[in-house]
Structure formats: structure tokens, C-alpha cells
Amino acid sequence: MIQLHALKIIPIALNTFRESARDRALYNLALLAILLIVASVVMGRIAVGQETKIIIDLGLSAMTVFGVLTAILLGIGLVSKEIENGAIANILSKPVRRSEFILGKFFGLCLTLFASIAAPAAAIAIALIYAQGGVAAAQLRLWPAVWLIFMELAIVTAVALLFSCFSSPALSAMFALLIFLIGRWSPDLKLLAETSSSAVARAVSRALYHLLPNLANFNYINETAHGETAPWRMVAGNTAYAVFYIAATLAAAVLIFNRRNFK
């Protein structure tokens, strides 16, 4: 039976959060996102009645891009830093399972990501209140889209953490970024799986479509900008997909990490 003790995971998570929060890159990226959101208010003025659309488009897109950069920058160093500075031997000499270590690191980084997108999300909300001359119920449609972005970032984090277990930071960053790009193009993989004339190509495309994360699922930015609210069924379904995919990725990370010899 797999036994995971929450009491051991939580301190690792909180410590990871504290360490990550000290990383200046995090604040710079969040600041850049906020600056872009402020710029969107100005850009909206020249777009002839499209102010709200531009604030949401630019704001959520900036949040996604900078969130992905944050997830990759922090995720690739989560495990490799501990290995490089030798702290891993000290950590694993304690009564902490390797799986608990990996999970603690992941949840700590998710906390960090949540904090790093909270500021841009608040900035978008304030920009919308300003642009629309007050608080309106329609502004609530922003939050399901923000939640979906957070789920997408959590998946990218898990993937970066997986690569961090066996690869150098530079390669991990490259792989994680590639996975993000392919994940965004996953509808094309599906199209290839359905329309290719070669049976081998169809089989490979279908396998890749299910193996790689389908990040296009989590992109509800354009619809939100046009005044639609993400349906709760869609949000629940995508959240479930994210949870299962992250669990599978973390399981792979634990598998690889368990077999590593740090002597």
C-alpha cells in the first residue's frame, strides 16, 4: 500500500513556498504581467469600443505566458538544485520518503504559482472595474478562466518537476517549454489522428494526443473576452483531467526519483 503522510508533505510544501517566494525572478515576472495589464487599459482606448475585450485578452494572455515562465523557471530547479548543492542527501537521510519529498515540492510550487497569478488576476479585475465604471456581475466571468489557467500552469509545473528529476536545468527548461507548445497545438494532433491517410501516423498521433497534456482545453480567454462564462461542467471536467494528468506525471517523477542513486 502506498502510504503518504500529509504531516511530512506539508512542511516540505511550505518550505518550498518560502524558498520560491524569495526568488526575484518571480516578482519581476509578476510585475511585468501587471505592467502589461495597465498598458491594456491604454490600448483599449484606441480600439474603438473594445476596451473590455482587450483588457481581458491581454491580461489573461500575459498571466498565462508569465505563469508558464514562472512554472518552468521554478520547476526545473526544484529537485536539481537540491541534488547539485548536496542537500538531497541530508533531506533523504531524514524519515521522509522520496515520494513525500516530490509531492511536497510540487504542492509548494503550486502555492507559489497561486500567489504569483493572484496579483495579475486582481490587476485585471481592477482594470475591468475602472474600464466599466464600477463593479458589475459580468466581471465574475473572469474567475473560471483564471482557474483554468492555474490548472494549466499546475500541469506545466508537474512536467517541469518530472524533467527536473533526471535532467539538467537547461534541458528540463527546453523540454518543459516544448511540452507546453505541443500541448497548445494538441487539437492539430487530434486532427492528424483523424484525417491522416497512414494507419501508422494515425496511431502515433492518437497515442501522442493522449500521452501529451492537452493544454488547449484550458484556454477560455477569447470566449471570456466576448462575454461568455466558462460552463461549470467544462471547468469541472478540465479540472478532473488536470488532476489525473498531474497525478500520472508525479507518479512518473516518483518512479524515476526512487531509482536514482545520490551517492
Partner: protein, 256 residues
């Protein structure tokens, strides 16, 4: 005494040195910035007038841009929409300087820019409406196709039917304009006056009997006082222009 005097002497020598070291880099920064400003002014004065370059769209495929945008289609559409407006505004400013009537037909890139914007975000209504107003002067056929594309992508948007009717009316295609207004007037949110437009278009097109029938039916079916008033006025106008109907109008006024 000599010792303390020596110490004071050393301190008084050290202080200016320390100040100089501390101020050296800020002073150098200001000096070099000033020199770079002077150099920039000189470069600007040497610059020749820019060559006249043909307007170019390096990427003319909306589909390619959609792929390259990695799912940020809406944002890319916003960028191209703003670019379209800036392109329009720059040409307007350029022509304003010549004190001549603004010639929209010179905006060769207007149609491709709007096409790309609509490809990236098919639900950007503002782009179709803008095209309906200004594209007819560039390419009327393209304008009609563009607005029809907007209607296909946004079938519930009554304003696009109004715009299509407007474009068709300007081309004297009154029957098609009437059809566009009729379709639009049936959509939720369409204003009451739009119901009278099909008949008006038919009258404009010379199909007076058809127009009369449409106005009469609308007068009988509508509850809107404004629509009834418009229909009554148009019926009177039509009857005056049709001699055999002129008597009917006088009889109707007499009955009142």
C-alpha cells in the same frame, strides 16, 4: 598634538578623495548621456527623408497566424484590429494634410487586415461593422462577402444584417437589401424600425406594389406606434405616386 594634527590632515585629504570616488560614476553617467544626446541630434539632422516603401503585409494568412499564436487568437486579433485602426488613422492624417476629400479607396491593406482580424477572431463584430462602412469604397464585392462572412460566424447579430442591407442599398441591389433587412428584423433585439426597412428597400427599387403590400401588412400586424406611423406615411407617399391608388388614399383619409 602633532599626531592629532596629522590625523586631521589625513582625514581632510581622504574626504575629497572619497567624495570623488563616490561621485565619479554618476558624473560619468550624466556626461556620457549628454554626449549621446548630442550625437543622436547630429544623426537625426543627417538622416535623409525615408524612402517611400510600398505598404506590405509580411504575413497575409490569418490561418497561419492563428497556428502561430499558440491559442492566443483573441489577443492576436486585438493586435491586428488596433493595427487596422492605426493604418486607417495614419492614412486619414496623411490625406488631411492635402486638404482634399478623404479617399478611402487608397487603403489597399484595409481588406487584408480586416480579413486577418476576422480569421483570428470570427466574433469580433466591430471589425465586420467597420468593414461594412469603409470597404465598399475599396472593393464593394469584397465588402459584401466580408459582411456575409460576419453573418455566418455571428448569425444572431442583427446589426450585421443591417450593415449588409446598407451595403447592398448603396449598390442599388434593393431586393437583396430588403431580404437582408427582413432576416435581421426577425432576430431577438432587432429594433422595431428595421421591420419597415424591407418595404422601404422595395419602394426604392421601384417595386411599388410589392412595397405597398409589405407596408400594409406591417401596419396591420405591428403594435409599435412608431412603426405604424412610418407605414402610414409611406403608404400615403406610395399612393400619391400611384395614380390609381390616389383615390383610395383620399377615401381612407375621409373615413378618418
Amino acid at each position: 598634538m602633532e599626531l592629532s594634527a596629522g590625523k586631521d590632515g589625513r582625514r581632510s585629504q581622504e574626504f575629497p578623495e572619497k567624495m570623488m570616488k563616490r561621485l565619479m560614476w554618476p558624473i560619468l553617467l550624466v556626461v556620457f548621456l549628454a554626449f549621446s544626446g548630442v550625437a543622436q541630434n547630429w544623426v537625426d539632422s543627417q538622416r535623409r527623408a525615408p524612402l517611400t516603401v510600398d505598404e506590405t503585409l509580411y504575413i497575409s494568412s490569418g490561418e497561419a497566424l492563428k497556428r502561430a499564436s499558440l491559442g492566443f487568437d483573441g489577443l492576436m486579433a486585438d493586435i491586428y484590429w488596433i493595427r487596422t485602426l492605426l493604418y486607417f488613422g495614419e492614412e486619414f492624417e496623411r490625406q488631411r494634410g492635402t486638404n482634399q476629400y478623404f479617399d478611402v479607396s487608397r487603403l489597399k491593406l484595409l481588406q487584408p487586415l480586416l480579413d486577418i482580424t476576422a480569421e483570428l477572431d470570427p466574433k469580433l463584430i466591430a471589425a465586420y461593422r467597420f468593414g461594412a462602412v469603409f470597404l465598399p469604397d475599396v472593393d464593394a464585392g469584397a465588402a459584401i462577402r466580408f459582411v456575409e462572412r460576419g453573418i455566418r460566424n455571428n448569425p444572431d447579430e442583427w446589426r450585421l444584417y443591417q450593415d449588409l442591407g446598407f451595403v447592398l442599398w448603396r449598390r442599388n441591389r434593393f431586393r437583396e437589401a430588403a431580404e437582408a433587412y427582413a432576416q435581421g428584423s426577425r432576430l431577438p433585439g432587432a429594433p422595431a424600425w428595421m421591420r419597415a426597412m424591407p418595404a422601404l428597400m422595395m419602394a426604392k427599387g421601384g417595386e411599388l406594389e410589392t412595397a405597398r403590400e409589405m407596408f400594409l401588412r406591417l401596419y396591420q400586424e405591428s403594435d409599435d406606434p412608431f412603426v405604424k406611423q412610418v407605414c402610414e406615411e409611406q403608404l400615403m407617399l406610395l399612393d400619391k405616386n400611384t395614380p390609381q391608388r390616389h383615390g383610395e388614399t383620399e377615401r381612407r383619409e375621409g373615413d378618418k
